[in-house]
Subunit: 328 residues, 2 copies
């Protein structure tokens, strides 16, 4: 991990000082100028960052931006189709790339969280998106990096994203490639304002963060299609039950540890789901949402009833720091 990344070049725009329309116009001008008559490519995950970048990019470049949605098999219920439909309504064409098998193959046998993230990242960049980039001949990549990502890279909390290497592209050979990161001066609250001003619906601009490794980051230990099925089902229930609380971010995590339960009077050594629901403004610090016990108990009841194998549900009561929002 490289230290000493030069952060001096990035001038933070605080959400309070942000004028979304002017910001958008400025970024459109910058991107148009940078890409010129060339064309660009980006990957949409459906999160607020990549959604805002996709809209910005299409406003700046129109059809000269090609947007892909990579279905990695570790998405939430109905995610790929839902996001493509949403952007189609906004006049933006997004192409789905089915890469489920590649991702599950890459995740097989990996329990270490960092190696798991690495496998998802590598598969995405090298095996899937890297191929698309090379095939497309695009020389510009749009990325939804925000200032918090940069902070965490510098602090060594997350791995640094050296995008060229990740794409399997030799920097020598890749001369001319350029990464555009139009949101890098903003934090999450600023991005939400920009996303709203770009005409994205509330379901997107107020969308909870759901980082790249997606449900793979919601499974402690090895990720398998079976475990993804469990945590996907738990996630649907959690999102239904916590929607009205409008949390900054919430998640259901499938533990690797098993705990003792009773089913029909018999011992059942079963699964445990941990629920986290965060109050936060900018993701740098967070507190557990003080959900009513009625909600917590209904949530637990539905999970042990509707998700096969689950016998226990917990709620995280720690602040960030020292815990991070994601468990894995």
């Amino acid at each position: 991990m490289k230290k000493g990344v030069d952060m001096m070049k990035i001038e933070e725009v605080k959400a309070g000082d942000l004028k979304p329309k002017e910001f958008i116009e400025q970024k459109i001008r910058e991107m148009s100028a940078a890409v010129g008559k060339g064309f660009a490519i980006n990957a949409l995950s459906g999160g607020v960052d990549s959604s805002a970048v996709t809209m910005l990019g299409h406003k700046a470049l129109g059809d000269r931006l090609k947007t892909y949605f990579v279905d990695n098999g570790i998405m939430r219920e109905g995610e790929p189709a839902g996001i493509v439909a949403l952007f189609a309504n906004l006049g933006v064409k997004v192409e789905i790339v089915d890469a489920q098998d590649e991702f599950f193959r890459a995740l097989k046998g990996i329990a270490d969280p960092e190696k798991k993230r690495e496998a998802v990242t590598q598969t995405f960049y090298k095996d899937v998106f890297g191929k698309l980039v090379r095939k497309s001949g695009a020389k510009y990549l749009l990325q939804g990096t925000i200032l918090t990502d940069v902070d965490e890279t510098v602090a060594g909390i997350k791995r640094q994203h050296n995008v060229f290497e990740q794409l399997g592209i030799d920097p020598q050979e890749a001369f001319g490639y350029k990464i555009l990161e139009p949101l890098v001066q903003l934090r999450k609250d600023g991005v939400r304002k920009v996303a709203a001003a770009l005409g994205l619906p509330e379901s997107v601009y107020n969308r909870m963060p759901f980082p790249g490794p997606a449900l793979a980051a919601r499974v402690i230990g090895e990720v398998t299609p079976e475990k993804i099925k469990v945590v996907r089902k738990a996630t649907v229930i959690m999102e239904e039950e916590l929607a009205s609380a409008k949390p900054f971010q919430c998640m259901a995590i499938l533990h690797q540890d098993r705990v003792t339960g009773i089913r029909d009077g018999k011992r059942d050594f079963g699964l445990q789901i941990e629920v986290r629901c965060w109050d936060s403004v900018d993701a740098r610090t967070a507190k557990p949402t003080r959900l009513p016990y009625d909600t917590l108990e209904r949530l637990a009841k539905r999970m042990v009833t509707e998700v096969p194998g689950v016998v226990s549900v917990t709620y995280n009561i720690t602040t960030k720091p020292p815990v991070t929002m994601e468990a894995v």
Copy 2:
């Protein structure tokens, strides 16, 4: 696991119908008659069941009952000395047996919860208490079995306690041995009434259940002296913070799963403690106590601050069933 244990012989005495003084007198008469001029032995764990049995036994048999406290190394902070002092105040002499090394040796490398319980049970009965019994020449054993234990044995939730085999005593050779279980008609609420009527202090008769495997049942995965240290410290904090809530039972559980945290701005892949706090009358069913969020947050804050390595704390929100009160 044997099925079809004859439960017909056990006539339940419900707490509501229990007349503690008459019950005590009857049990004293029965034990005196059974033991006659012989002598008996029992092991005190400090829980309400074994404390009540110890008092009953001493009232019935006086010095002809020899009571041992086995220090297995997996007890709570200050437990062995505290309990011996408490009984000394009541005029009952209890001998501490230091068996910490035996237990940690037996637990080494075992992650499976049932094998772990088995190791604790076997070490207790065969290696430690079994030797004491054989050396003492006592022909009578007092045990704190209650009706819920019998139910759970029959249901296959816990393993059946075939005490003779557990003691490493051949039933043939052991002819004449007798197990006395004076509390077997009662459930926990009844035992508490009897314990109070026996003159035990409130700290004992309202003591939360803390089963045999003790802190070993509060560690998911392999039990080591280091992990016991962590969970012991977390247990002290939990008991201090939850004392005023007067829960039926509460516990801090050290998970084997590690989760990501941040310390001093750097990634810290750390430990997770799960807190459980149960509302229950008789342990057959239970609900999570609706602890105030102020309490939960203070608890979490203290654990991540005071217990080295802990970055995350959760609170269990499931009911029994399907979860059991203990995790392991």
